[in-house]
């Protein structure tokens, strides 16, 4: 109890003062630091550019540039082509009848207006990417642009007399950091643009006021325009060109062609043509306020909303929307790196993803953001080669942290007073630079040793923690196994697989000479094993008194692996056969857990539990709660999903306190109450693996792989994690598998690369004054090698005053991750249906708010609009409602399966989560026939492009692969040629597929297939995808494995994608 307190304090403790010595400290002698010094920061010239721009970008101005500027040159073409198609509505407009009074409300009679995809007075995206502004405006577009119904002002027309307060974001740096020669390439226009933008930000602190300001000014400067909207469309063209004389650098939009082919599509979808919407090219739209007000002049609010129209005639919309245009994440994760472009010094999005990179500047703005506001953190995510986190050793100085807010030194701190002081980026306190850490500043105010300081140039670093951060010597990696040996476990063959896998992993366990290991097995009695190194064979001790568990040998149950290796080997060889004849059906799980706790409580470590039946003896015995159909839909439904016996919660609390992480492997085909057992894993930072009806013959590979990964992956022991953020913002709730040890301190007895944690933040102050909010994730842990380390990830995010900005910078992946966790937590306190409804409700609210944002300026009519960044949110929301944890009711998933899925999803990193929610479906038969190697094909992206998850995507002549990251389903079309099937499956191709396992046959196709599967498995090795073969029309397997997972289809009363969109749209419009 005491050491917990101390550890917390240690976590807070800052580096001690050291006698100052003026010399520049020598580089720490860590082996990691050597390559560092030779890497990129050496070049001073080029570094300045990004840095300068980074600092300059601190004001949110730069956000506007991001989506278009991230595209390469080819983007121009695509955009242009997309635009070319858009204005098709205008010619129709020419033929429009005179307007009716009800025009803006889009009555059914307004059918002809449907084809107007783009709001009339919004112009094409015109935010100047730097290169464009350099080259001048016309370069961006092909000379002949049939842009109609829209006017476009070039950025040049933006008020040139605008002062340029570029340095808004970070006052300390800007003066010295922005070099004229760097600024020069960025055209003055650009900087003015951003400057004005920043000014606007300041001038209108509340989001709502932005629009009111924009609109009146708009109307005043283009007097004819609004009326033009409401008068006959035929007049629009002449009047427009009259009203908008070409501005300097601008152009007059040429008259469009009289009619366009899209005329025929009246009543069909109109807005971004399917190509554009699927490829994800944002259709940028800018509103040109054109105001002469110096503050508001430049607020060229870029709204990249996308839309598709849904027929506005009630009852007839079914034909009004083609499901092909609906957005889908077929390209995988749609991560947008706007933030890392703005703040290149941020840590990678692997480690930290914000639900929106634009932090709202006021509570009122935050309350209009109906999606979760927070972050998903994966502190130990696997880094690709070459991007490993550098290790820094502050041996002499102690770790440098801010005195007040405890922030670790990071790339965003600034050095002043010729290097003697540094200013904390999140609380702005001036701290002293310890003598050993002192370095002179160059002319630009940067430390001259910057290139040797990874902590000042990288968003992610690891500090070697001094003894201040330890409450005890770093623990050795410790693995303890608690194995059920009752008859059902023996029969399933689980014991052999486990024993073999452990044995094969012994050489690869992390922390080689210090690793400790121990075993307890149990049925109706407990069996302890004395593995003292002096023995030849392990000694087994049986304890049958379950009421008063004690440890028979204090020392030799947990042994050093390298010393007792032979004994451990002998044990693993013999123990499956030892219990071969066991007929005991009982399972004394609770007492065994207690015993394991007693053995491990001194050191902590990882406890792996292999449980095959319901605990039936001693403390913690559970009853068959049963899955009662009558319970579903009532208030008692959730009780099935919450732990029944407080014993397990109490044990979990004790485990966490003693630094024990529990990983639970469940195998049974019968009910084992994973809801209760899983709490052990949930609150200790562990993981639940579930293999329903485990059969060694079928599931061996999966168990082998996942157990081996669990044992051998790099693990951080006895860790605590805290995420700090700047003033005015606070993380309030945390979601994931862990236990909170203090309001903001996450206790993680063991953590590895496959675990992610989500948290929500709230604003403490009604108005944020800063321009940037900094987040810092700090994970204090013991590495397997026995070093105490602190991994620090730093990220900066701009504060925005505008809701549209927040939407533009939203990150669907992080939002969905948070949604999933919130929804799963909700299933523990209420009905499944309520959890699903809450997801739907929040999506609706978010879309409605977005609609309201634009409804003022644009005639939206029956169109459904959504921000480009959230185009897949509805689909993922649907997928979430159809995921195992949330789907249906009684019959749709076993309670154990549901709970296991819930526990798993609570810990999944973002990418993995997205893949699970919207799995990949690809057609592979054509690929397999080609005699090409994998390497060549990986370039050919078309093959790997997924198909929509609908039965309509399945061609009976094809062979399809469905991959959700946890399993493969191979779907054989009924008209697939038998030869091909024979080639793949061998002789028994006609047999029942549930009994056929996929093996490599001696032919090219089969080898290709296996190569393909292995490639997919290697791309993400956190879980092993077992292949299931399904033949078209084979019931019920086809339904179980594939059809229920085709989430775009309406299955069993749940909505299909199209219906879902319709439903959302209706609800969005209801109170819009």
């Amino acid at each position: 109890m005491i050491h917990l307190r101390r550890e917390e304090r240690f976590f807070e403790k800052m580096g001690t003062e050291y006698p100052s010595s003026p010399a520049i400290p020598s580089r720490p002698a860590s082996p990691f630091s050597v390559p560092q010094s030779s890497t990129p920061f050496k070049s001073s010239g080029p570094v300045v550019g990004p840095e300068a721009s980074a600092f300059r970008h601190a004001p949110p101005s730069s956000t506007q540039i991001t989506p278009p500027s991230s595209s390469s040159g080819s983007m121009v073409g695509t955009e242009a082509s997309a635009f070319r198609t858009i204005p098709s509505g205008m010619p129709n407009g020419a033929a429009r009848p005179p307007p009716t009074s009800g025009f803006p409300n889009m009555p059914p009679a307004a059918g002809p207006y449907q084809p107007f995809p783009a709001p009339q007075f919004s112009s094409i995206a015109q935010v100047p990417p730097p290169r464009t502004s350099l080259a001048g405006q016309p370069v961006l577009w092909p000379p002949v642009r049939p842009v109609s119904g829209s006017f476009s002002t070039s950025p040049v027309s933006l008020n040139p007399t605008q002062p340029t307060p570029v340095q808004m974001g970070s006052p300390p740096q800007s003066g010295s950091m922005v070099q004229p020669d760097i600024v020069a390439p960025r055209s003055p226009i650009d900087s003015q643009f951003s400057a004005a933008r920043a000014t606007m930000q300041q001038s209108s602190p509340t989001a709502g006021s932005v629009y009111p300001v924009a609109r009146p000014s708009f109307q005043s400067s283009f007097p004819g325009y609004i009326s033009q909207q409401t008068t006959a469309g035929a007049q629009a063209q002449p009047r427009q060109s009259l009203a908008f004389p070409p501005q300097p650098g601008g152009y007059v939009p040429p008259m469009p062609a009289a009619s366009s082919p899209y005329f025929a599509q009246q009543g069909c979808y109109a807005a971004p043509p399917s190509v554009a919407s699927q490829l994800g090219h944002p259709r940028e739209q800018i509103r040109h306020p054109g105001s002469t007000h110096p503050m508001a002049v430049m607020q060229g609010l870029v709204e990249d909303f996308s839309s598709f129209s849904i027929g506005s005639v009630p009852g007839s919309f079914d034909s009004g929307l083609d499901s092909k245009v609906l957005p889908r994440p077929l390209e995988g994760d749609l991560e947008r790196n706007t933030l890392s472009e703005m703040f290149p010094l941020n840590c990678s999005s692997r480690y930290l993803r914000l639900t929106t990179s634009g932090i709202p500047n006021s509570q009122s703005l935050a309350s209009r953001w109906h999606l979760p506001l927070g972050a998903v953190v994966c502190p130990l995510a696997e880094a690709p080669n070459g991007e490993e986190v550098p290790v820094v050793n502050f041996a002499q100085t102690g770790i440098i942290r801010c005195k007040r807010c405890r922030t670790y030194v990071n790339p965003y701190v600034t050095f002043t007073d010729s290097g003697r002081k540094w200013r904390c980026n999140s609380c702005a306190l001036l701290n002293d630079v310890p003598g050993e850490y002192f370095a002179h500043l160059d002319a630009r105010g940067r430390r001259i040793d910057l290139d040797q300081r990874p902590e000042l140039t990288k968003g992610s670093v690891e500090f070697i923690a001094p003894t201040d951060y330890m409450v005890r010597p770093p623990m050795p990696p410790l693995y303890f196994f608690l194995i059920d040996v009752s008859v059902s476990a023996v029969r399933s063959g689980m014991l052999e697989v486990v024993a073999q896998t452990i044995k094969s992993c012994l050489d690869n366990l992390p922390g080689f000479p210090r690793t400790q290991i121990g075993f307890i097995t149990y049925d109706s009695t407990l069996h302890f094993y004395n593995m003292k190194s002096s023995l030849n064979q392990p000694q087994m001790m049986v304890m049958s008194d379950l009421d008063d568990v004690f440890i028979p040998l204090p020392d030799d149950l947990l042994v050093n692996l390298s010393e007792s290796r032979t004994v451990v080997d002998a044990f693993l060889d013999s123990f499956p056969s030892m219990f071969q004849e066991n007929t005991n059906v009982e399972s004394a799980f609770g007492p065994a857990l207690r015993a394991a706790f007693m053995v491990m409580s001194q050191l902590g470590g990882k406890l792996l539990i292999f449980q095959h039946s319901l605990p039936s003896l001693g403390v913690g015995r559970l009853r068959l709660r049963g899955d009662d159909i009558r319970v579903y839909g009532t208030d008692k439904e959730h009780i099935l999903r919450i732990p029944e016996d407080p014993f397990y919660k109490q044990m979990a609390a004790d485990f966490t306190k003693n630094q024990v992480a529990v990983n639970l492997y469940g195998f049974s085909d019968k009910y084992t109450d994973l809801a209760t057992l899983g709490t052990l894993a949930k609150y200790t930072g562990g993981q639940v693996y579930y293999y329903p009806s485990f059969q060694a013959a079928v599931h061996k590979d999966k168990l082998c792989h996942e157990l081996a990964r669990d044992l051998t992956r790099e693990t951080a022991w006895e860790s605590v994690m805290r995420i700090r953020c700047g003033k005015g913002v606070r993380f309030t709730t945390y979601h994931g598998n862990f236990m909170l040890r203090s309001t903001d301190l996450i206790a993680l007895p063991a953590v590895d690369c496959d675990k992610a944690y989500a948290m929500q933040l709230s604003l403490e102050e009604t108005l944020l004054t800063s321009q940037t909010v900094y987040f810092q994730v700090a994970l204090l842990y013991t590495s397997s090698s026995g070093e105490r380390r602190i991994r620090v990830h730093t990220a900066a995010a701009p504060v925005v005053a505008d809701l549209g900005e927040m939407y533009r910078m939203a990150d669907t992946g992080a939002i969905i991750s948070l949604f999933t966790r919130l929804a799963i937590e909700k299933t523990l306190t209420s009905k499944l249906e309520e959890a699903r409804n809450s997801v739907q409700l929040r999506i609706v609210k978010a879309l409605r708010e977005y609609r309201n944002l634009h409804a003022v300026q644009h005639r939206l009519g029956g169109r459904m609009i959504y921000p480009e960044s959230l185009k897949c949110l509805p689909l993922y929301g649907l997928a979430l409602c159809k995921s195992i944890a949330l789907r249906g009711g009684y019959a749709d998933a076993q309670p154990d399966e549901r709970c296991a899925a819930g526990y798993t999803m609570m810990a999944l990193p973002v990418k993995k989560m997205l893949k699970l929610l919207y799995p990949q479906l690809i057609r592979i038969d054509e690929y397999l026939l080609k005699k090409t190697s994998l390497a060549e094909d990986s370039k050919d992206k078309d093959i790997w492009k997924g198909l929509p998850l609908a039965a309509g995507s399945l061609d009976p002549q094809g062979l399809y692969l469905y991959d959700d990251g946890f399993r493969f389903v191979l779907w054989f079309g009924s008209m697939l040629s038998p030869d091909r099937v024979k080639n793949l499956l061998g002789e028994n191709f006609a047999a029942d597929y549930s009994k056929v396992s996929l093996r490599e046959q001696d032919n090219e196709i089969s080898r290709n297939l296996m190569g393909l599967l292995n490639k997919y498995r290697e791309s993400d090795s956190s879980y092993y995808q077992l292949s299931y073969l399904v033949r078209q029309g084979e019931k019920p397997r086809e339904g179980y494995f594939l059809l229920t997972n085709l989430i775009e289809d309406p299955v069993g009363g749940a909505n299909g994608y199209l219906d879902w969109i319709m439903q959302l749209h209706r609800q969005v419009q209801q109170n819009a």
Partner: protein, 160 residues
């Protein structure tokens, strides 16, 4: 005669009330203690294990005390107090049946809610305390009044 009976009932009521006051005082302390534990936890002066232990130790006594007071009101015929205590008792019983102890694992998630409950309870108790003190004073005055009206000692003696 009737006057005498009423004065007697006041006397007994008074005795109980003094006990009751003490009980309410303890009771308030109990609630305050729990609140302080929660606040300490929030500001990280104590770890959740200790905090949960300390709070859980006094939860059942609190419920028992409240039940006893309620019973006292019932027996002594303080119907108003009895009625005021009734919803509180109902809530406690409901809580006791489901989940009355603080869960060390979830304590941080429940912190705002637990604090809110205890704050409301505290407010409720303060009102009760004030009410009983008021009645204590009033009954004292009444006693004086009674003793004044029944000044004649022989009258009382004759009754005894």
């Amino acid at each position: 005669m009737s006057l005498y009976i009423s004065s007697l009932s006041f006397l007994t009521g008074l005795i109980f009330l003094i006990n009751g006051l003490e009980a309410y005082y303890n009771y308030n302390c109990n609630c305050l203690l729990q609140l302080m534990c929660l606040a300490d936890l929030e500001y990280d002066y104590v770890n959740p294990y200790d905090s949960a232990f300390r709070i859980n130790r006094v939860v059942v006594p609190e419920f028992a005390l409240q039940g006893a007071l309620w019973f006292l009101h019932l027996v002594t015929g303080h119907w108003l107090m009895f009625l005021i205590c009734l919803p509180y008792l109902y809530y406690n019983i409901k809580l006791y049946r489901s989940l009355h102890l603080v869960d060390v694992i979830e304590i941080f998630n429940q912190l705002p809610w637990e604090k809110k409950i205890r704050l409301y309870k505290l407010g409720y108790l303060v009102i009760l305390l004030a009410y009983s003190i008021f009645w204590y004073g009033v009954s004292k005055k009444l006693l004086v009044l009674i003793s004044e009206t029944t000044r004649k000692p022989n009258y009382i003696i004759s009754l005894l």
